[in-house]
């Protein structure tokens, strides 16, 4: 049994170890190790395309995770006091968001937005004064942020609701009995109690958005995110530079997720 477990761990970590190892290869070849070097890390960090893609990924992940955390937390709190069809409808929306494959969400968003743009853009052009170039809506950072906010929002609602359902209603009732306004109760009682879940939701959303390839592949338009850059690099042939980028991304995601876990765990301890 123990040997079996060791085998599974070897299976899980071999590919990751290989990526990390070859990122330190001195040669150009991705399949032969030719001496130790960190040059590919330097090249990756100095590649303007990589940095541009990284910047886009960070920006989209940050904005969509922030929006998702705010909207998701508000909804989770609001849902606490709602029963009946509204709640059932919202639950169904969350269920659909989680259940529909990312690829379907990606294409659905693509054709919906392109259809809307086809209607709006000629209209904008007609409304615009003749001597200036009319603005034209297109796929890009905006559509990326909107789509990522949608699916990470569902995630935040699930996480925050799990935390809320574990809280005792007595505290907020006591607060209300002591004549605190609902807003004061939220700010002073509920929010501190759910803060770990909100923060964990933010970090998870950030990582999901940052890692997402499939939805971004459809809705990014001409913008490039890091996963899109990595995917097209792999298509062109594997180089140690891609390995270096991959290793850095793995380490960064890991650090974020460990932080998220620590925060969640600390929040789970009973407060006295």
């Amino acid at each position: 049994m123990r040997i079996y477990a060791v085998f599974v761990y070897v299976f899980l970590y071999t590919p990751i170890a290989i990526i990390a190892l070859f990122s330190f290869s001195a040669g150009r070849s991705a399949s032969q190790f030719e001496g130790f070097s960190v040059q590919w890390y330097g090249r990756a960090l100095n590649n303007p395309f990589v940095m541009d893609a990284l910047g886009n990924s960070l920006l989209v992940a940050f904005i969509s995770a922030t929006l998702a955390s705010i909207l998701g937390t508000l909804a989770a709190v609001g849902l606490q006091g709602v029963r009946g069809p509204v709640r059932a409808f919202f639950d169904a929306l969350i269920y659909i968001a989680v259940m529909i494959p990312g690829i379907v969400i990606g294409i659905a968003t693509l054709i919906a937005l392109v259809t809307v743009f086809d209607v709006v853009n000629p209209w904008l052009a007609r409304m615009w004064p003749d001597d200036t170039t009319p603005p034209s809506l297109s796929m890009g950072m905006g559509s990326l942020i909107a789509a990522h906010t949608m699916f990470t929002l569902a995630l935040v609602v699930i996480i925050v609701r799990a935390r809320l359902s574990g809280l005792e209603g007595a505290l907020s009732e006591a607060s209300a009995d002591l004549y605190a306004t609902p807003f004061a109760t939220f700010r002073q009682i509920t929010l501190p109690l759910i803060a770990p879940a909100v923060l964990a939701g933010f970090l998870l959303s950030f990582t999901f958005s940052f890692d997402d390839f499939i939805i971004a592949f459809f809705v990014a338009g001409s913008e490039t995110t890091l996963p899109i850059y990595i995917f097209s690099s792999i298509r062109r042939g594997i180089t140690p530079e891609v390995n270096a980028i991959g290793t850095m991304v793995m380490i960064a995601s890991l650090v974020l997720l460990i932080i998220a876990q620590l925060i969640l765990r600390r929040g789970d301890k009973p407060r006295r």
């Binding site: 049994m1 079996y4 477990a5 599974v8 761990y9 299976f11 899980l12 590919p15 990751i16 290989i18 990526i19 070859f22 399949s31 032969q32 909207l71 508000l74 909804a75 609001g78 849902l79 006091g81 509204v86 919202f90 929306l93 969350i94 659909i96 968001a97 259940m99 529909i100 494959p101 990312g102 690829i103 379907v104 969400i105 294409i107 659905a108 968003t109 693509l110 054709i111 919906a112 937005l113 909107a146 789509a147 906010t149 929002l153 699930i158 996480i159 799990a162 990582t207 890692d211 390839f213 459809f218 996963p227 990595i230 995917f231 594997i238 891609v242 991959g246 991304v249 793995m250 995601s253």
Partner: protein, 283 residues
């Protein structure tokens, strides 16, 4: 402001976002699936079932998905179960958390990078070269169904271990002792006590993995090399290359329907086994 109005106000922004970015796009896909392809690509309104009638043309993609997704789910379960058992039942508390975290860590690193690692391993200078050195020549691994299967099992294994672990960890260990005290063989104990009590974890794990595999695109694209493609790959091809939106929408609708039917049937089956699901444990 009344309590009710306040709650509504809190839910409204998120609800609106989900409606606009999820329900509206999915509805458009539904509507488009009855339309026709514009001559230059895209969509022209129509009401025809032609796209659905043409679905058999993409039979291979559906076939690959419907064979490899359940097979991948099953293999992930068979590999994950003994590990989850080892962690939940046979490992001391001290090591449990660390070993469990080590299982989850790979899942939290980009599936793109993890899959592409397998191009190395299964490609010409990886395993085939290793096999050649021990006398097994001309083994082709990359761009085969086998490669795709390895990729999906590898990619989703952690997702299977976790729920199975949770259900086994909750299992009252005294039951296992009682069973052996009453003279049951360990194998009997496993099939009569352990396995039935972990059905909920198996159900959750299988459903999660199966749902994700049905929409898979990356792993077949990278490890299948255009030969072993899933419905996801067909969708990318239809929407981005041939720009046949109407037909693509019908394929997407078909995928959703197949998923809904299989998942619903599966949940029926599980609830017949009278099991409480504990998805909440995953969060």
């Amino acid at each position: 402001m009344t309590q009710r109005a306040r709650n509504w106000l809190l839910i409204a922004p998120a609800g609106a976002w989900l409606l606009v970015m999820l329900v509206v796009p999915l509805s458009i896909v539904f509507v488009f699936s009855f339309g026709e392809r514009a001559p230059s690509g895209g969509y022209v309104p129509a009401f025809t079932f032609e796209q659905y009638a043409n679905l058999p043309a993409r039979f291979t993609a559906f076939q690959n998905t419907l064979i490899l997704a359940p097979l991948g789910t099953l293999m992930a379960l068979l590999i994950a179960y003994p590990l989850a058992y080892q962690l939940a039942v046979r490992t001391s508390e001290k090591w449990k958390t660390l070993l469990l975290v080590l299982v989850i860590v790979p899942f939290w690193t980009s599936i793109l990078i993890r899959s592409y690692a397998w191009i190395f391993i299964l490609g010409g200078r990886g395993l085939p070269a290793l096999l050649e050195s021990i006398g097994i020549d001309d083994v082709r691994l990359i761009y085969t169904p086998f490669a795709v299967l390895v990729g999906i099992v590898y990619g989703y294994l952690p997702l299977m271990v976790f729920p199975v672990y949770v259900s086994l960890d909750r299992l009252d260990k005294r039951l296992l002792e009682a069973s052996s005290d009453l003279g049951a063989h360990p194998v009997t104990t496993f099939f009569k006590v352990t396995l039935p009590m972990s059905v909920s974890g198996i159900a959750t794990g299988c459903m999660l993995v199966f749902i994700l595999l049905m929409g898979e695109f990356l792993i077949p694209a990278l490890l299948g090399g255009g030969k072993v493609f899933f419905v996801g790959n067909a969708l990318v091809d239809l929407f981005l290359q041939s720009r046949n939106w109407a037909y693509g929408s019908a394929v997407a609708m078909m995928l959703i329907v197949i998923m809904l039917v299989t998942v619903t049937l599966y949940m029926r089956l599980i609830s017949k086994l009278n099991v409480q699901r504990d998805d909440a444990a995953l969060m």
